[in-house]
């Protein structure tokens, strides 16, 4: 019997993908023999828009780069901008930022665990994990006023203070997650079917991880101890000894597969809970904003020249923002964003080649992709599929204007 080849397009709209991206796979039976990953469906031109707006507006634009890690991009934004502008946030604000960032890590990791359970068809586990996730969302809503998109950060501080009632809720939450996470370890790591579906799937070796520039939990699952919180500490992380969690610390061996990614993420929840506990126990008193008045802040930005890089360890990996303020306008003159999924998606093509159709959702999900984070540029192709560069594009635009002028009969 000759094996027939099928062409399976996955995406841009597909139930396994919650966001638009396209994976084109040629399969023989169940085996994938050819794969192509196409991105760019969620490109919104955020950096370009940010360079036209003022810094405060751009900060909130950066929050909408991604809704799941909605504090990661603002965090990198404020850290980078503060470096560029020479503003230092008060210690209390730094601690509050760290608490919010770790709360977000808890919610994002639990979300990922639920999603990956859903991808392998384990819907009851999705329901169970998301039931536990509501607790941290409640706390975030209590502190920030919304379940997602917290709008907490500001250049030079945070906008809302932690009150007594918030700290009480946080302490209660810490106790809850200590127990919940223990149960989660039992349910995920000990489940035979879950293990059968994830062990050996999406296996990324150390060398491969370095080659495709994997970051965050994906790289840590492959055994690379890399974590921005440990390598370039900032804010409250500078006071805490954060060590990146790698599977060899926990079980002694590294496979680098989706099962290890689960392991790393579950143990990182423990770590986040510890960090939050440290922060609320050692929360300094004082101001929460270096420059509380936005008008003053904007005029200071307008006067300042400088550049800086802000990095933050988002739940998915490192987020890096580059800024240049040129002292002529109240927004960034140059703003460049590097999101973790941009690196991690590189691992799809090598991992999918030779895998099975059933593994596509697991491979796609295990890096916790975030398309909206990584679609940063739009590429224009001509009819033959060649990329059109900017000079040609400009020439074509001029030509089109001339043609339209001619058609309309406009005289110079």
């Amino acid at each position: 019997m000759t094996k027939s080849q099928y062409y399976i397009p996955i995406g841009p709209i597909h139930p396994a993908l919650k966001e638009p991206i396209r994976v084109e796979a040629k399969v023989e039976g169940e085996k994938i023999v050819e794969v192509d990953v196409k991105r760019g469906f969620a490109h919104r031109g955020i950096e370009y828009m940010g360079m036209k707006r003022n810094a405060i507006q751009a900060l909130y634009l950066s929050e909408r780069i991604c809704g799941i890690c909605s504090i990661s991009h603002p965090y990198a934004f404020v850290v980078g901008s503060e470096k560029a502008l020479g503003i230092e946030a008060p210690p209390r604000a730094q601690y509050i930022r760290t608490i919010i960032a770790e709360l977000e890590r808890i919610h994002s990791h639990i979300l990922w665990l639920g999603v990956v359970a859903h991808e392998v068809g384990f819907d009851s586990l999705l329901f169970w994990t998301w039931k536990g996730r509501e607790k941290v969302l409640d706390v975030l809503e209590l502190i920030s006023g919304n379940r997602i998109n917290y709008s907490m950060y500001m250049i030079g501080g945070v906008r809302r203070d932690l009150k007594e009632s918030h700290i009480k809720a946080l302490k209660e939450m810490i106790d809850y997650y200590r127990i919940f996470n223990q149960e989660m370890k039992n349910l995920f790591l000990a489940d035979p079917v879950y293990k059968a579906r994830t062990r050996g799937v999406a296996q990324l070796s150390k060398e491969m991880a370095l080659k495709v520039n994997a970051v965050g939990p994906t790289a840590r699952a492959a055994g690379l101890r890399m974590d921005i919180r440990q390598d370039i500490p900032y804010d409250a992380y500078a006071d805490i000894e954060v060590r990146g969690i790698v599977p060899q610390d926990i079980v002694g061996e590294v496979y680098g597969d989706a099962y290890d990614a689960t392991l790393v993420r579950i143990y990182e929840i423990d770590q986040s809970v510890d960090i939050i506990e440290y922060c609320i126990d050692n929360l300094p008193e004082g101001k929460i904003m270096a420059i509380p008045n936005y008008v003053v802040l904007l005029s200071k930005i307008k006067r300042t020249k400088g550049e800086g890089i802000g990095a933050h360890e988002a739940p998915r990996g490192e987020v890096i923002h580059y800024f240049k303020y040129d002292g002529t306008r109240d927004g960034p003159a140059v703003w460049k964003v590097v999101a973790p999924s941009y690196n991690n998606i590189n691992s799809w093509a090598p991992l999918l080649l030779g895998a099975e159709v059933a593994d596509i959702p697991v491979v796609v999900a295990y890096i916790d992709p975030c398309m909206c984070c990584n679609d940063r540029i739009a590429v224009v192709r001509d009819s033959s599929g060649k990329i059109v560069d900017s000079t040609t594009l400009h020439r074509m635009a001029v030509e089109k204007t001339m043609r339209i002028k001619k058609e309309l009969g406009v005289k110079e």
Binding site: K18, A42, R44, Y48, R64, F127
Partner: protein, 147 residues
């Protein structure tokens, strides 16, 4: 009993995410999870547009994506409805001046219910469902009156 009696009670939903920031998408999933449990209204997320009655769209639509959204809409069998979740899809939201967005969703496909919010709470999405029921009931009355 109206003609659309069972239609109202069994809305199967297909979810298409455009250039959204994911905030709305995860709130849609949260609507299905135990705290809010949309399945008690007969709402089910399905994996194929052919099965769906309602198209949930989130996010402002990038240029590349507009024709795909149109195609998904055409693939759904009649009668069908479109619900837009979140402000980006409703009006462009804070991406109002982006060069790569083709604008609000109602310029591409007809929209029945808007759920504003950034992102809307799961209850607000359920409220959108209630509004959709009301619209169906109005339609039912019209059908009965017309015949």
């Amino acid at each position: 009993m109206g003609k659309l009696y069972s239609f109202k009670r069994s809305l199967w939903v297909f979810h298409a995410s455009g250039g959204s920031c994911n905030g709305c998408d995860i709130e849609i999933i949260a609507t299905l999870t135990p705290r809010y449990d949309a399945e008690r209204f007969g709402i089910k997320l399905v994996g194929s547009p052919r099965h769906a009655d309602v198209l949930l769209v989130t996010g402002a639509i990038p240029r590349d994506f507009a024709d795909k959204l149109r195609r998904i809409y055409d693939q759904m069998s009649d009668p069908k409805a479109v619900v837009v979740v979140g402000n980006c899809g409703t009006s462009g939201g804070l991406f109002y001046d982006s060069y790569n967005l083709v604008g609000p969703i109602d310029e591409i496909i007809p929209v029945d219910v808007y759920v504003p919010g950034c992102p809307p709470r799961p209850e607000a999405i359920i409220d959108g469902v209630v509004k959709a029921w009301l619209k169906i009931e109005k339609l039912e009355k019209q059908l009965e009156g017309g015949e």
